[in-house]
Symmetry: C3
Subunit: 109 residues, 3 copies
């Protein structure tokens, strides 16, 4: 048994939950802030059998990896015209920081 602790962005949280559940992994989510990832983030705790670590890691990677996203310009209604960008821009989203911890004993009561 291993305990996977994965810090991911909030925006990928539902997608990761669904993918893990579909593959019969069970996760607990801790709400967390700042740190490894700049925006709001969530820490997943996932208990997995030794032989399933790679599968769980692949699911985390697939659903949370850092990637670029094209963001369309938004007209600055009521906003600051100085910061208005009139063309689509690429921003970095997602990303995951993942620790796999050894577990000495695992119980379900």
């Amino acid at each position: 048994m291993k305990l996977i602790m994965a810090v991911i962005q909030d925006k990928d949280s539902t997608r990761l939950s669904d993918a893990l559940m579909k593959a019969n992994f069970r996760a607990t989510k801790l709400s967390s802030t700042g740190g490894f990832l700049k925006s709001g983030n969530t820490t997943f705790l996932i208990g997995v059998d030794e032989g399933a670590v790679d599968e769980a890691m692949a699911i985390i990677k697939d659903n949370c990896h850092s990637r670029e996203q094209i963001v369309a310009p938004i007209s600055p209604m009521g906003g600051n015209a100085d910061s208005y960008v009139p063309y689509p821009v690429e921003v970095q989203v997602g990303g995951a920081t993942v620790f796999v911890l050894p577990v000495e004993q695992f119980e379900q009561f």
Copy 2:
């Protein structure tokens, strides 16, 4: 020193806190959601000496184990009459998922 991480139901949280404190264990609670247990849950972090792991596990088991509870029927005032169950039913409550992690260094400042 070991670190016990126990995911339990919110409804057992106060009871477990009290029982741990009475036995001189000190716990930190992280609020968590979903996952190992269906309803709202709480993750306890409990630092324990090697020789006290069994005692702490017994306290968690005693206070959080999965059990059936008889729920009296509630009349569906303003609710959905289709889902109204007119007789007492047994529902599963409680349960705990517990990881015991090795600790390489422990400090209190």
Copy 3:
């Protein structure tokens, strides 16, 4: 790679975050309650290279160690006059409970 889990008082949280960031450590904060420390507390997760554990521990100690603070008397406007203390008192603040956990695998996606 090691995972440092540090439970500290809320009042030291910003100071510790800043000090860790300045030293190029990256931390995630989990909000937590009760337990190891009496007042509101925060649990930091800090992933560090083996050779940097001592440096991170020193930063935690420096910014969160238990100490006495002189609290000036506050006049009990609208409060309970019975609990009014008319002279400065020393109170215990701060403190940290820190676990260093082994990490078997570490990934950033």
